[in-house]
Symmetry: C2
Subunit: 321 residues, 2 copies
């Protein structure tokens, strides 16, 4: 099934990690060239990559550092991998870096005893990523299965190319679906990424201000909501881009099914355990160098909010059979 | 009581109407110089002035055209006034231009028979505006009366200087209140006008993305919502800047009192009769010349939405005793 270029926004070629700079879209499609894990962390902190791109950046950064360390001893390499893990774990709060790096270190430890290390570690990582690619296709296919011909789907922020893939599965099954994308202030991921991607891939997409959600729902123009999840908890609560919570409340008010694409998480009991990143005031006080509000004005910009389990009609999990 | 400069953003000096260009704030405080009603309509259509500024622009444009027509006969002047009325009525849909121009023509017709016409018309208009200024002070005072020491007020868009006046009345009564202002995409009136005004006048104001309303409400940080109304109906429904409706729904969900500053309206039966202006797609597809979404992408940007009466805890009317 055809993938949007946002579906797998990071790739490793030789000793260079190419990270799609999502802040440059829709102006241009440009990749950051990253040579080590510190540059990779910069890309994460400055939000040049996000969501699934962050996951890929972590995974490939481990492979990159392993490739660069072929002359080191096994012990030295494990020390480097642990240092990389710790640096990512301290980069941004809401995304579960510790879970991802923990999983990667687990893979390394499992194959560490073999004389094939670290080549076997790299192969194991590549195999894991291949499996995730397939699982994301499966998840998109199941999400598409929830849609009927003629449905309109509202989405918020950006689900790393998966909305376009959902559209492709609908197309395969001759179901015509329409998309409504919220702008998603303050980074405009909905405008810059989701609307851009869906239009580029030939889908019917309408951009709306975040403020117009209740109105389009009241007008009967939305059949379901599909959003992603930046972090999930055991009880079905999840955190996603700020604004997801109010969309979930409004969907409930209007009786509109609310679906979320989730990844497995067994580390956190409930949404209350998910740390929420508070971003810098200036990210909403100015846009693209232009001041929107006076200097020194206080701002409150939580990057994410938590949606509780009971607002979710169906969790579409990546690891479901 | 001290007024914010946004409270009365239009003034007439000699043959020139000075209209505060609200699109230039917070960068600078600049006034458009308007010499006739056509230029005044341009300022309205391009949203350089809005809400109460539109009302003042209409009223002063009539005075301006009357002053310029002293050499005309009474009949000619009435013809001009009718032409001015019609042009405003066709300028933007949601604001009740026809009600305002109808009221003004009513004043003109009432004093038309006197030999003092049109001087008496100008004096009657000035008296009417003076009365409205006093009524808005009264309304702000009553709104302030609903607040307790320590309260936090969430507001959306901009109520033409009245939020700052509400703050001044609280200050007079030694009540400390805090304000939360939504950004109000796509024109950022909350950032550019409300936050700017409240900070300038020394109040504690925090700007939040439109997407963070549910989160700040859930965190218990909002004691009440106060918004304005662009148009009201007999049954208590009202239209205001897009996003007001979902804030009202969220306030109800969280049990937070929702207050609206309304003007009288007996022309429309209910909110369903209020025409909603659909603004141009490009107003959300680009910002300040920078493209946010791909060219040709569809957008839906209704400028306003309607809040039904039952979501309103209290209407704070301009003409109440």
């Amino acid at each position: 099934m055809k993938e949007s270029i946002l579906f797998w926004p990071v790739r490793l070629e030789g000793d260079t990690l190419y990270i799609l700079d999502e802040t440059k879209i829709p102006g241009k499609v440009a990749y950051l060239k990253v040579r080590d894990y510190l540059q990779a962390i910069d890309a994460v902190v400055s939000m040049k990559t996000r969501a699934f791109g962050q996951f890929l950046t972590v995974c490939y950064a481990f492979i990159l550092e392993t490739q660069k360390s072929r002359d080191r001893t096994k012990e030295e390499l494990m020390g480097i991998l642990k240092k990389v893990a710790e640096a990512f774990n301290n980069s941004r709060p809401t995304f579960p870096f510790a879970e991802v790096t923990g999983m990667v270190l687990g893979i390394a430890q499992k194959v560490y005893g073999s004389p094939a290390f670290p080549g076997n570690f790299i192969r194991a990582m590549e195999g894991m990523l291949k499996g995730i690619r397939q699982q994301r296709h499966d998840r998109a296919s199941r999400a598409a299965g929830l849609l009927k011909d003629g449905d309109s789907v509202l989405t918020h922020c950006h689900v790393s190319g998966e909305m376009s893939l959902i559209g492709e599965f609908c197309r395969r099954d001759a179901k015509k679906v329409k998309f409504f994308a919220t702008e998603t202030r303050p980074y405009f991921q909905g405008a810059r990424l989701t609307a851009w991607e869906l239009k580029r891939d030939g889908f019917d997409v309408t951009l709306i201000p975040d403020n117009a959600v209740a109105k389009v729902m009241a007008e009967g123009n939305i059949n379901c909501v599909i959003v992603g999840s930046d972090r999930s908890a055991k009880n079905g609560d999840f955190a996603n881009k700020i604004g997801t919570y109010q969309i979930a409340l409004l969907a409930k008010h209007f009786g509109i099914p609310f679906y979320v694409l989730v990844q497995p998480s067994d580390k956190l009991k409930s949404g209350a355990d998910i740390p929420i990143e508070i971003r810098d005031d200036d990210e909403i006080l100015a846009y693209d160098g232009k001041r929107l509000a006076p200097k020194g004005c206080a701002a409150y910009y939580p990057g994410f909010d938590v949606v509780s389990n009971e607002l979710v009609t169906k969790h579409i999990a990546i690891n479901a059979n």
